[in-house]
């Protein structure tokens, strides 16, 4: 009986030590793996070009690049947006990334809408959802004009 009690005690202590080792190794390992999820995205102003050249009452597709840290690499990132000036020095710059699942939307002049080629999403010229599954409007980027150059805020 006494031996059985000792064995049960050993079983508990063994499981306890095993748990301690698993936690002591597991917590740093999981922290190591999931840490990018807690990293704050850096935002920066990126120039799109001379505002005068971009002035257009219709949407213009603009591709641009900028450098940003990607892990251990200083990478050149490519982005694509639709730009239009809405008058009074105000600009509308929409990300082409569909708010549904990330496909790139296209501006359709006839329908005056942004169309997504993946799941049939349609956004109006203010970026609001007209049809399809997206839960949110198109992302509108923050803009500023300095020294005649149009900048967008990249995050």
């Amino acid at each position: 009986m006494e031996k059985r009690g000792r064995r049960s005690f050993l079983e508990i202590i063994t499981a306890f030590i095993g748990g301690i080792i698993s936690l002591a190794a597991g917590i740093p390992l999981i922290g190591f793996a999931i840490s990018p999820a807690f990293k704050k995205a850096e935002s920066k102003w990126v120039d799109l070009g001379l505002a005068d050249r971009l002035k257009n009452s219709r949407f213009k597709k603009v591709d641009y690049t900028f450098t940003a840290k990607d892990g251990w690499v200083q990478a050149t990132k490519k982005r694509s947006v639709y730009v239009t000036d809405v008058g009074n020095g105000e600009w509308s710059v929409f990300s082409r990334i569909c708010s549904h699942l990330g496909c790139l939307v296209r501006w359709d002049e006839k329908q005056e809408s942004f169309l997504c080629p993946c799941h049939g999403a349609i956004f109006d010229k203010t970026g609001a959802v007209i049809a399809g599954p997206p839960p949110e409007p198109l992302q509108k980027l923050e803009t500023k004009v300095e020294a005649g150059i149009l900048y967008v805020k990249e995050t």
Binding site: R7, L10, E11, T14, I21, G31, F32, W72
Partner: protein, 402 residues
């Protein structure tokens, strides 16, 4: 839940198997195998996590390791556990092997257990060799250069083997890629396969116990679970605390990025290959092959087939004078060579600062003056390379002269 599992799995039989009694008088040395298993799992887990941030290409590898060590939360700790775990693995596996020799546990009917154990030792050394190229620093590069050159001295197929190892004629992107594949895919599969077979034999033949155990004593010791497992787990905790302390207080070194032109670097392998590194110094000229190929190969073959060479009756090492002498000489020899290799002086050269710049390109009219860069150490480095424009100019001038 227990009932559900009991109805579907042979848990009762499994539990009875785990509680089977071990031989009497088993001591702490019999936990070394479990510790080796623990380290293999720890290496596999930490390695799998490190792979999240690693990229096996010469352009990225060093930066990725720097990123892991300096920017990723817990990165230095995880890399430290993996690095010091590798060293601990070699120590524990060798101690495990010595325990088996001490009690002559390799003798019949456990010859196969021994052979698979020696194969596992080779896999562990393979992990070490393929692993330390991955940070792509000076040590990684030069230790691999020397290691592959050693393989190339093997008679007949040496050159072919070296080319296969490098993936070409020199160490570069293909080498790093295949060492990474070997380290993270091929060797782990091989290791876990060999461990599976090794463990099967250990359970099938049972623990060897001590040579003095009577047949009755072989079946009347403490049960494997929980008694032996408890001791094993305490050993694992001590080992883990030691590795964690190493990871926290002894940062893993990372040298400058690999530079194939850096003649100032003194290549040194990891400590567990230092004995071989030192041994090679004693065999010169036509005898080089003795150190690079004959002694390591014969040594390994002798070790592998030890159970068939030593047919004497099973007893402890100190009652076997020949085995005791050979084992002692091997251990002392390897330790002495390791110490000599580790403490050997690095090459000291007198830098000759070349002041006068010879410029062979001066003969080419129109070629620009070559750039000369002075390095800190005093030795001059000349860069006579021409730009495409300069080469075009030189060709034009030559054509005009003709």
């Amino acid at each position: 839940m227990r009932q559900f599992l009991n109805e579907r799995l042979p848990l009762t039989e499994f539990s009875a198997h785990l509680r089977k009694p071990l031989p009497k008088h088993i001591n702490l040395l019999f936990s070394l195998g479990s510790l080796a298993m623990f380290l293999l799992i720890l290496q596999a887990v930490t390695g799998a996590f490190l792979a999240f941030y690693y990229s096996p290409s010469p352009e990225h590898a060093h930066n990725a390791v720097t990123y892991i060590s300096t920017e990723v939360p817990f990165g230095a700790f995880v890399r430290g556990l993996h690095h010091w775990g590798a060293s601990a693995m070699v120590i524990i596996v060798v101690l495990h092997l010595l325990r088996v020799v001490l009690y002559s546990s390799y003798k019949a009917p456990r010859e196969l257990t021994w052979i698979f154990g020696v194969l596992l030792l080779l896999v562990v050394l393979g992990f070490g060799f393929t692993g330390y190229l991955l940070p792509w620093d000076e040590k990684a590069y030069w230790a691999t250069v020397v290691g592959v050159e050693i393989a190339s001295t093997a008679p007949g197929l040496g050159d072919f083997v070296a080319k296969v190892m490098r993936g070409g004629t020199e160490i570069g992107a293909v080498t790093l890629s295949r060492f990474y594949a070997l380290h993270t895919i091929w060797l782990p599969w091989l290791a876990f396969g060999l461990v599976g077979v090794h463990l099967f034999f250990v359970r099938y033949y049972g623990s060897s116990g001590k040579p003095e155990n009577t047949p009755e004593e072989m079946k009347t010791g403490k049960p494997f679970y929980p008694d032996q497992v408890f001791e094993d787990v305490v050993g694992m905790l001590i080992l883990f605390v030691a590795l964690a302390a190493g990871a926290l207080f002894m940062p893993v070194p990372l040298e400058d990025v690999a530079d194939p032109t850096n003649a100032d670097y003194d290549p040194r392998p990891e400590w567990y290959f230092l004995f071989l590194f030192q041994l090679l110094k004693y065999f010169q000229g036509p005898f080089e092959i003795l150190g690079t190929f004959v002694i390591p190969t014969v040594g390994m073959l002798l070790l592998l087939f030890l159970p068939f060479l030593d047919r004497s009756e099973r007893t402890v090492l100190w009652k076997r004078p020949i085995a005791l002498t050979v084992t002692s000489l091997c251990v002392v020899g390897i330790v002495a060579l390791t110490i000599l290799g580790g403490t050997s002086k690095k090459l000291e050269t007198t830098d000759v600062a070349v002041q006068e710049t010879t410029q062979p390109t001066e003969q080419i009219q129109g070629a620009a003056t070559p750039e000369t860069e002075q390095v800190d150490e005093g030795e001059a480095v000349f860069d006579f390379q021409l730009t495409e424009e300069e080469i075009e100019n030189a060709v034009e001038v030559e054509e005009e002269q003709q």
